[in-house]
Structures are given as structure tokens and as C-alpha cells.
């Protein structure tokens, strides 16, 4: 057996069985004489994993999440009239857009500038504390891992710089779960359990709001840039609000069902801090609410040590470390 074959085999079984999985150099180099064995073992692994997952009624939940989407397309029956008048509607819309563009100046550029300023402000080292409220619960009643289900309503998310956050929420069992990341390693613990630490920064990101927007809310500049690129942006008219705010509505461009479909953002025009963030039409595949809101409750100077797990538990707590997974 060549060195590469031995390395491949070692990494292959590590991929199958280890909790911790090192960066791989060999897994994409399957030796020709090992392909049949690899295919068989992958299939057995898939069969066993699927069989083991069934105990959590995940199958029905997965199916329902698809069917919800399929049956939700209520407007489809009206496509024919739309097609019939589509040309006229399209022409009218184009005229309207042209009119708006001519008479309102380059509104889009102004909006992009405002958003760019919010992105720049998000780079400021500052600790921002957000309180989370659930606005719309899940339609489905399927609740996996009863007792371990997280209650997002009342959860607190503290965001620092890039990949620096602490997220605290209640479990249905009454315990509190806290997870976070200090930019170098991520960690998670239940109030009465060991601390799990990983060099994979996304390992414990779990239910952190916005996690599906390719990056997450815990990495604000990237999150905002992603919104700018993957969503249609429009400014919300806030002239009737008591206090002056800058507000944006982001509607997902693609049909992807991963992540919220609609995101609204309210910003303080003075310091460009995100005051409020609302995520609507969130995916239901893993349960959880359909719509939530984050409200800024406090800002404080940035202190790096707050984002380390040591800050949140007693020194004698057991710490279990794992390395980055692929």
C-alpha cells in the first residue's frame, strides 16, 4: 500500500467516525483500488446514519418543510392572467421606473452609499447587546429533541467584532444554553454541563439569528455585504416614526429556501448603529420561529475577554476541545 493510500484510509475513517476531523489533504484523492470499498462503506454509513436519525421524527419534519413550500405557492393559479397582461404591466412598470429615476435622481446610489456607511460603522470595535423577540412561531408542531428545544424569545445576543459573540437562550427543559466565539475558537455549554470548545468558528453557531445568510449576524460587515449582494434592497419610508431612523428592506433575490426571505433593518442615522433587525420567512426545516426581531438594548466598550468562554463559567468547569471539522 502506498503512502497516499494509507493516508487516504486514515483520513477516510477519521471522516466517518471522528468527532474532530483534521484538515484533509488526501480525501479527494481516492486510490483507484479503494473506490469500491469506499462506495460500500459510505453507503453503509449513510444507511446507519439515516436509520439512527429516524428516532427523532426528523423524516416527517423534513418532508413537511418541503410540502409547506410546495403547497404555499398559492399564487400560481393566477399566473395565466399575469401572462396575458404581462407585456402591458411590464411596460407600465418600466415607464414608472424611468419616471422615478428621472425625477428622484440616483436614489439607488444614495441607498447604496447609506448602506456602505452602515457597513463601515459595523467595523467599529464596540460591544452591541441585542434582545430577541419571536414575532411569529413555526406553523409546524413537530418539535425535535423535546427538552433540548431552544426558546429564542427573550434570548440575548452580544456581538463584538468579527466572529465575536455570546448568545444566551433558554431551553425548554428550563436550563440555559450559552454559546459564543472569541474570533479564535467557538464554544458552547449548558449551565450545568461541560464546555465544548472547537477551532471551527461555526461549530456552535446553531440558532444564532441570520446564520444562514452565508455568514451570520455575528460577523456584521460580512453579513451586511451579503445582504447588499444577495437581496433586493429598498429604503423604508420612516417619516412617520417618532424618532429619525434609517431603514432598509432586503428581499431575497434567489429562490433559495436557505435563510430568511425578508430582512428589515433600522439604523440610527447619527452613529449608524443597527437599532433593530427583523428576519421574516425563516426556513422551517429545523423548526424554530418564522419571524424574529432583534432590538439593540445596550452598547458598551469592546472587551475581548468577554467573548472567551472562561468569562462565563467557573474555573473548575470541564472543557472538551475539538479541532476544525471539514
Amino acid at each position: 500500500m502506498s503512502d497516499n493510500s494509507e493516508e487516504f484510509e486514515k483520513e477516510f475513517y477519521s471522516w466517518l467516525d471522528d468527532e474532530t476531523f483534521p484538515d484533509s489533504k488526501f480525501l479527494d484523492q481516492i486510490p483507484a483500488d479503494a473506490e469500491e470499498k469506499v462506495a460500500e462503506e459510505l453507503l453503509i454509513h449513510g444507511l446507519l446514519s439515516e436509520m439512527a436519525m429516524r428516532g427523532h421524527s426528523d423524516e416527517e419534519r423534513r418532508i413537511n418543510s418541503v410540502l409547506d413550500e410546495v403547497y404555499d405557492k398559492q399564487g400560481e393559479g393566477n399566473l395565466v392572467p399575469m401572462k396575458k397582461y404581462g407585456t402591458w404591466v411590464g411596460a407600465l412598470a418600466a415607464c414608472l421606473l424611468l419616471f422615478l429615476w428621472l425625477f428622484s435622481g440616483s436614489g439607488e446610489n444614495l441607498m447604496a452609499d447609506s448602506l456602505d456607511r452602515v457597513i463601515s460603522a459595523s467595523l467599529e470595535p464596540l460591544t452591541r447587546t441585542y434582545s430577541i423577540s419571536v414575532l411569529e412561531e413555526a406553523h409546524s408542531s413537530s418539535r425535535p429533541n423535546k427538552g433540548q428545544q431552544e426558546d429564542l424569545d427573550g434570548a440575548i445576543l452580544v456581538v463584538g467584532g468579527k466572529d465575536q459573540y455570546v448568545f444566551t437562550r433558554r431551553l425548554e427543559s428550563g436550563y440555559t444554553r450559552i454559546s459564543g466565539c472569541d474570533g479564535r475558537e467557538s464554544w458552547a455549554m449548558r449551565e450545568d454541563g461541560p464546555v465544548h470548545v472547537s477551532t471551527d468558528l461555526n461549530r456552535f453557531i446553531g440558532n444564532v439569528p441570520g446564520r444562514r445568510e452565508s455568514s451570520s449576524f455575528v460577523n456584521l460587515p460580512v453579513f451586511l455585504r451579503q445582504l447588499k449582494e444577495s437581496f433586493h434592497v429598498e429604503k423604508i419610508d420612516c417619516s412617520k416614526e417618532a424618532e429619525e431612523v434609517l431603514a432598509f428592506r432586503f428581499e431575497r433575490k434567489s429562490q433559495s429556501k436557505i435563510g430568511a426571505q425578508l430582512i428589515e433593518l433600522w439604523v440610527d442615522p447619527g452613529n449608524l448603529l443597527i437599532l433593530r433587525l427583523r428576519l421574516s420567512g425563516m426556513p422551517q426545516a429545523r423548526g424554530g420561529p418564522r419571524s424574529i426581531e432583534l432590538q439593540l438594548v445596550e452598547t458598551s466598550p469592546f472587551v475581548q475577554s468577554f467573548f472567551s468562554h472562561d468569562h462565563h463559567h467557573e474555573p473548575e468547569r470541564e472543557v472538551r476541545t475539538s479541532k476544525k471539522q471539514q
Binding site: W15, V38, L48, E59, G77
Partner: protein, 211 residues
């Protein structure tokens, strides 16, 4: 959920025709049949959900990602349904979509797409096709031999597999539980899975080369 009656036993082509009583090209253009189309698709989703989950679990370690890719694959299938050739089986078509969706996921994550080579796909497809040819009305019937094979495993292999997969223990915990070294535990897992594969091949559930 396991016994879903008559429609489950039909091929996709017969399924659509028996529910709709019409040609697919006709119902595509007829809006009042949309609901029936959705019902037909629901049956296909239910019929193929476990197969798709096995496919994804064989490539992806994180259950949350399996959930997301499952949904994405099924929704792509729903949108592409008009392109689906009713004369061909639905399973391989769905796995083709799952393959592309999974590759796109790896690309987006800037991760290497492990085990996604054409050869591995072909080999796994042979096994999936072999499972599909087993007698039975649903996936559980078709892979029922796996339970027999698990029961027939020597205790030392069966116990570690049970702990790892069905008690969701880490390999380290399993080795401590079994009172053996980590390496020995990994070897047992490896050997146990090999024995399961051999057993399933003997029973005809998995494809095996004619000798």
C-alpha cells in the same frame, strides 16, 4: 407512514397517469390540475425521502446541512418537474439533483467535495438501484435486511456500531464505554461496517459483481 397503499407501488409515470388520468404535457398547461400535480409530487417526496437522506448522510456529516440540502434538492426537483422524463425512474433523477446541490454547497463553503467523483457516484448508484429492485412497498421493506445483518453481527462489532450510530456517542466515548483503545475502537467500527456490507451483498440488497 410506512404503509401508504396503492400509489406507492406505482412507477412515477403510472402514478401521474393514474392520479391525473391525463398526459403530463396536458396537465402542465392546465391550471386546475395544479393541485393534483402537487399531490403526485407529495407521494414522490414521501416515497423517496429516506433514499435521499441516505444519499446525503453518506456525503455530509452535519445533520443541519443534511436537512437544508434535503429541502433544497426536493424544491429543485419540484421546480424542474416539467423537465422530468416520466419514462425514467424518479430516484436516480433525484439523486442527480442532490449531487449537483451538494457540489454547489461545497463550492459555496469553499470546501473540497469529498467522495463526489463520477466513479464513486456510479458505484453508489448501482447499490441504490439494487436496493430499489428489492421486494417491498417502501424503503423500510427494501432495506429490512440491514436489521437482520446488524443482529447477525458478532457482539463486539454490533455493540460499538449501536453506541456510535444509535446512541449518538462520540468515537472516544464509545472506546471508553467498550474499554478499548481509540484505535481499536475505530478498527472495530471499520470491520463492523465491512461485515454489514458483505452481509447485504450476500442477501442481494447491495450490488455485487458477478463472480
Amino acid at each position: 407512514m410506512e404503509s401508504r397503499g396503492f400509489y406507492e407501488t406505482l412507477s412515477p409515470k403510472r402514478l401521474f397517469k393514474s392520479i391525473l388520468g391525463v398526459d403530463k404535457k396536458y396537465f402542465k398547461k392546465t391550471k386546475h390540475l395544479k393541485i393534483e400535480e402537487k399531490k403526485s409530487f407529495e407521494i414522490l417526496v414521501r416515497e423517496n425521502s429516506r433514499m435521499l437522506t441516505v444519499f446525503l448522510c453518506s456525503r455530509i456529516r452535519e445533520q443541519a446541512v443534511v436537512d437544508d440540502l434535503f429541502q433544497e434538492t426536493m424544491l429543485v426537483a419540484w421546480r424542474r418537474l416539467p423537465d422530468y422524463d416520466l419514462n425514467r425512474p424518479f430516484g436516480p433523477w433525484l439523486r442527480g439533483i442532490a449531487h449537483r446541490v451538494t457540489l454547489a454547497y461545497f463550492r459555496k463553503q469553499s470546501r473540497l467535495p469529498f467522495f463526489m467523483t463520477e466513479k464513486i457516484n456510479l458505484l453508489m448508484d448501482k447499490h441504490f438501484n439494487s436496493i430499489d429492485l428489492q421486494s417491498g412497498d417502501n424503503w423500510q421493506d427494501k432495506v429490512d435486511a440491514l436489521n437482520d445483518c446488524l443482529k447477525g453481527l458478532p457482539e463486539k462489532y454490533r455493540s460499538v456500531i449501536n453506541q456510535k450510530y444509535f446512541s449518538h456517542e462520540s468515537i472516544l466515548s464509545v472506546s471508553e464505554w467498550a474499554g478499548i483503545s481509540l484505535e481499536a475502537c475505530k478498527k472495530r467500527m471499520q470491520r463492523g461496517r465491512r461485515l454489514l456490507a458483505q452481509c447485504l451483498k450476500t442477501k442481494g440488497t447491495l450490488f455485487s459483481k458477478p463472480t
